[in-house]
Amino acid sequence: MALAMSNFGQDVSLFFIEDGVLQLIKQQTSHKIQHKAYHKTFGALTIYDIDNIYVCQQSLLERGLTATDLTIAVTLIEPDQLSALIAKNDQVMVF
C-alpha cells in the first residue's frame, strides 16, 4: 500500500506500533511456514522515497527487541510523540 501510494505522488509516512513492529524483524525464515519473504520488501521503501518510517520504542521494548533487530533503518519514537506525528498527515489508514 505504501509503495502504491508513493508511486501515485502521495507523501507517505509509516508507523509501526504494537505487534506491527514484528514485521520488521531482520531474522525471519518465512519459507519454513510457506510464506513469501515479505520483510525483504521493506528495503524498497527508501527507493520509493518513503523516508518517514517510525517505530514505537515502547512496542520494541515490550517484545524484547531493539533497533538493531530490524531489517531497515527507522526513526524511533516514544508513545507520546505518536499522535502529533500522525496529525501531520492528511489521511490515515490502519492495518
Partner: protein
Amino acid sequence: MSSFTLLVTSAPYSSQSAYSAYRFALAAVELKHHIKGIFFYQDGTLNGSALQLMASDEFDLHNAWKKISAAHNIPLLVCVSAATKRGIINANDAEDCDQVHHSLSDEFQSVGLGDLAILLANSDRLVQF
C-alpha cells in the same frame, strides 16, 4: 460540503464495520456530502460477492451497496489482488484463468491500489471501516 473516500477492510456480517460504512455513506449523501468512491480492501473485498444469499427478513448489505452506488453515482472499487485470493473474481479474470464461475458483482470494479491513491487525492477525508 465535504468529499469522502471510504476504505472498507472488513467482511460483511463478521463485524458491524462494513454495515457502519454503509450507514456512514448514507448519512453523508443525505447531508449532501460527496462520496468520491468506496474502496474495498483485504477482507472488505468479500462485500463484492454476488453469491451472497440473504434470508428475506435480514438486511441485504450487498444489495444496499449496489443501490447507493446507482442512486448517488458512487464507484464501488475492489482491490483485484486482495479480492482474487478470496475467490472474488470478475467474469473476465475467471475466463482468463479457466475458472468456471465468477463471483464479483457487475456493479463492482476490479482495480489496483493506484485507483485508491487517485480517490484520496480528490477527497477531503478518508474514513476506514
